[in-house]
């Protein structure tokens, strides 16, 4: 018998040349919440973080929304996920922290997808390795926190 289910959805849209808007939605047997992150490019710094809870278990949960402001100014870099857990998860809500990390850990594939669309229009023959190389040049900091993509480039 099914006793628990959770669905998370993450969506990225380009608000302007230097702002990425990220939406995150979490819906499960116990909780339902959403967040919106505005991310400064190319620095990968969170400009604003807002959210709301639609369903929760205790009357204290909603107060955790106040802790989302602590996310502003955080940079996506090594150690980012621990900072989110420490600043928003433990003192506020660990499901909010989980959703923020879910959104932000998608930054590399999202940047690759955006760059692929952009370069593919100019050159339909472009390979994914070439796209990743371009992304790495624009955002050199990603190499330090994603060995998978770095090693892909080395092949």
């Amino acid at each position: 018998m099914l006793k628990f289910c959770r669905t998370k959805f993450v969506g990225f849209e380009r608000e302007s040349d230097d702002i990425l808007k990220i939406y995150g939605t979490l819906d499960d047997t116990l909780y339902s919440m959403q967040i919106e992150i505005k991310l400064q490019l190319p620095e990968l710094v969170i400009q604003s973080l807002t959210g709301k809870m639609r369903r929760f278990t205790t009357p204290f949960c909603e107060e955790a929304t106040n802790f989302l402001t602590k996310g502003a100014g955080l940079k996506i870099e090594p150690g980012f996920q621990s900072k989110v857990k420490r600043l928003i998860g433990r003192p506020g809500c660990r499901h909010f922290a989980n959703l923020i990390n879910e959104c932000c850990e998608s930054i590399i594939p999202a940047l690759i997808c955006m760059k692929y669309k952009e370069l593919h229009e100019e050159n339909p023959e472009i390979s994914i390795a070439e796209v990743i190389k371009e992304v790495k040049e624009t955002y050199p900091q990603i190499a330090s926190f994603c060995p998978t993509y770095s090693s892909l480039l080395e092949k």
Binding site: M1, L2, K3, F4, C5, R6, T7, K8, F9, V10, G11, F12, E13, R14, E15, D28, T29, L30, T57, T58, P59, F60, C61, E63, A64, F67, G89, R90, P91, G92, C93, R94, N98, E102, E105, S106, P109, A110, I112, C113, M114, K117, I128, C146, P147, T148, Y149, S151, L152, K155
Partner: protein
């Protein structure tokens, strides 16, 4: 505005015989699609673990699947996250993230039952719905988030 990137992740936790649980996590985004299934005992020991990758442009992700076997026999407890990221996180963060989604599902699946019993009682008398009362129902959750942290403990 058109979305430039999307990701969907879902986890299902099923109750099996002898208090075992089967947890399935599936994820797909524009670059990757995969699934991890874990079977746990009543003590949260991993009895079975399997993974499938349907799409990925990283060869290493496909190669990481065999590493899942090393998690068999381990218990979901403190330090497990470090083990998962140490083992798989460097070669395939996607796969590591799916394993951790199963772990989160296993933990939340185990809290649904006690919460379903405790919460209706507590919400019946909101004036008595205190953090102290909540912690007495769910002592294992103490200091895990705002709801289970007494003001003095902050």
């Amino acid at each position: 505005m058109v979305l430039t990137y999307t990701k969907n992740k879902e986890v299902h936790v099923f109750e099996g015989e002898n208090r075992t649980s089967e947890i399935r996590a599936r994820m797909y985004d524009m670059c990757f699609e995969g699934e991890v299934t874990i079977k746990t005992s009543k003590t949260m020991e991993i009895l079975e673990i399997n993974g499938k990758i349907f799409r990925s442009f990283s060869v290493q992700c496909f190669e990481s699947l065999k590493l899942l076997e090393k998690l068999k026999g381990r218990r979901i407890a403190g330090g497990f996250t470090k083990i998962v990221y140490g083992l798989i996180g460097r070669t395939c963060p996607y796969l590591a993230s799916l394993v951790m989604e199963c772990v989160e599902g296993a933990i939340l699946g185990a809290t649904v039952g006690p919460l379903e019993k405790a919460l209706p009682q507590l919400w019946k008398t909101p004036e008595k719905f205190t953090k102290k009362a909540l912690i007495s129902f769910m002592p294992q959750m103490k200091n895990s988030c705002i709801a289970y942290t007494m003001e003095d403990d902050r």
